[in-house]
């Protein structure tokens, strides 16, 4: 399993042609206290860069973008009841969706952990 990152602060942990998607701890820290997460329906299809979810903090609503193209296999229902998990465990328990990747070739466009860490440091 390898984790990839976007410049919009999403992560995708890939296993074969499926992956878990969420927002990074850095993004969660910037958003502040998360009070609501709107997730897509299972089966929904997205192109890379589409907004597929919304995170609402006390401050504002923010779109979450699909790191790769694909279809939603499963959504994390924990976030419906406990959106604050995003603030506590953004890169583990608080995953948003599990997707089937349309094209694993798109992963080469994303950052690995070291590149993302360097990217955040430069912000």
């Amino acid at each position: 399993m390898t984790t990839y990152y976007t410049k919009d602060h999403e992560w995708i942990r890939v296993d074969g042609d499926t992956g878990m998607v969420g927002i990074t701890a850095y993004a969660a820290g910037q958003l502040g206290d998360v009070v609501y997460v709107e997730l897509p329906e299972t089966g929904a299809k997205f192109a890379r860069g589409d907004d597929f979810a919304v995170v609402e903090s006390v401050k504002a609503a923010s779109d979450v973008y699909a790191p790769v193209s694909g279809a939603v296999l499963e959504v994390n229902s924990v976030l419906t009841e406990a959106p604050e998990k995003v603030s506590e465990a953004a890169e583990s328990e608080a995953w948003f969706v599990r997707v089937k990747l349309a094209d694993t070739g798109e992963l080469t466009e994303l950052m690995d952990e070291a590149a993302y860490a360097a990217f955040c440091k430069g912000l």
């Binding site: 502040g32 206290d33 009070v35 609501y36 919304v54 609402e56 006390v58 609503a61």
Partner: protein
């Protein structure tokens, strides 16, 4: 929003202190202002409701309006300065007791709200020809221009926005501020006095923008900064940013100029008819009087109401309100209320839909979400009457 980003943001006298305290600064009303500190909006909000929160509001527009004649003493001097400002606002300013403050609105010719402001009659006998006025930061240039034009030759405006204006809000505010100003504990809600600390004079008013008991204090830049540093040493006091200021005032049902109040909205529509006291309704003499008296008599076409979303999704400013598929209004302020522990909002709906309990739909991201009209405030006010 009364939020005007600018590349040349001004700094308040407390700017260095904000940086020291780990503030995240954003442009607001032409100033770099703390939106939050390290604790975050939710924790700052809850801290203010249980302890004491300190807010820098030096970006606002405190000012003094004095009679051009220089007359300072006696009830006659107060009547004279009050009569001047009453040509611009619909509240009974003449009827203020010494040391009493009142919320009012600055009106345009059609009875729309140009700003909301607090006018105080000074307590001190030698300041009776003076009014202490605090207007919104984003509107101060407009408001002060209106005062100077309308009252030219009759009154003199002295800006006081080069010092420190801060608010201390929450159940511990009285005991914390009382340690420095023992007289402040004797003030009731909307009362104000000049008080002296270490030879420096401050204007201390018991009011605020959170629904909690608390004070707003005006002082010079140096003395104000020193006092704020002193107050922050108290373990009950934490600095609070604009983020929590917004969620606190929203739960308290208080209006934000630029969102909930605007030049096309009358005080009657805004649920602020109570700022127009009996004498002014009888004698008129304020801008937009015909519309306002008509709305007082017949009721306004739309009303500001509280809105309680029934699901977890917050409804933000600009969200459309529907009843049975027909548009009936708009959310003007909305977000998450940490003390209510649920989303809260306010907005304008057609008068027929304004009764608490009315079922409405909020169009959030293209999907109708159930909500109902709710009484304001969302949390009971804790002012010291």
């Amino acid at each position: 929003m009364a939020d005007t980003s600018s590349e040349t943001s001004r700094r308040t006298a407390l700017h260095a202190l904000h940086v020291e305290q780990g503030a995240k600064l954003v442009p607001f009303a032409g100033y770099d202002m703390p939106v939050q500190f390290s604790a975050g909006v939710k924790e700052e909000h809850l801290w203010t409701r249980t302890q004491a929160g300190l807010f820098d509001v030096s970006h606002m527009g405190p000012c003094f309006l004095t009679l051009a004649s220089g007359i300072r003493h006696g009830a006659g001097a107060h009547e004279e300065i009050a009569a001047l400002i009453e040509t611009l606002v619909p509240s009974d300013i003449k009827g203020l007791k010494p040391g009493q403050a009142r919320l009012t609105v600055l009106l345009n010719e059609t009875g729309g709200i140009l700003d909301d402001l607090i006018i105080t009659r000074p307590y001190e006998e030698d300041r009776q020809g003076e009014l202490y006025i605090v207007v919104n930061g984003a509107m101060k240039d407009q408001d002060w221009g209106i005062f100077e034009t309308a009252l030219a030759g009759k009154a003199v405006l002295t800006r006081a926005d080069d010092g420190v204006l801060f608010a201390l809000q929450g159940p511990k505010a009285e005991i914390v501020l009382g340690a420095h100003f023992p007289e402040c504990t004797g003030l009731k809600f909307m009362e104000s006095r000049r008080m002296v600390l270490d030879g420096e004079t401050f204007v201390v008013s018991r009011c605020g923008y959170t629904g909690e008991d608390g004070f707003e204090v005006l002082g010079s830049a140096a003395a104000g900064t020193a006092l704020v540093r002193l107050l922050l040493n108290d373990p009950c006091v934490r600095p609070i940013g604009l983020g929590a200021r917004d969620s606190l005032r929203l739960e308290a049902g208080l209006c934000l100029y630029g969102s909930d109040l605007a030049p096309d909205i009358s005080p009657v529509e805004a649920g602020l008819a109570w700022v127009i006291q009996k004498r002014r309704r009888e004698t008129g003499g304020f801008p937009g009087v015909s519309r306002i008296l008509r709305e007082l008599k017949d009721g306004p076409a739309r009303k500001r109401v509280g809105i309680q979303p029934l699901e977890r999704a917050p409804a933000r400013e600009g969200t459309e309100v529907y009843v049975d598929g027909a548009p009936v209004g708009l959310v003007t302020s909305g977000g998450f209320g940490p003390s209510v522990d649920a989303p809260v909002a306010m907005g304008y709906v057609a008068a027929a839909q304004a009764a608490p309990g009315t079922k409405i739909d909020l169009m959030v991201r293209g999907k109708a979400r159930p909500a109902e009209v709710a009484p304001l405030p969302f949390i009971p006010a804790r002012y010291k009457r």
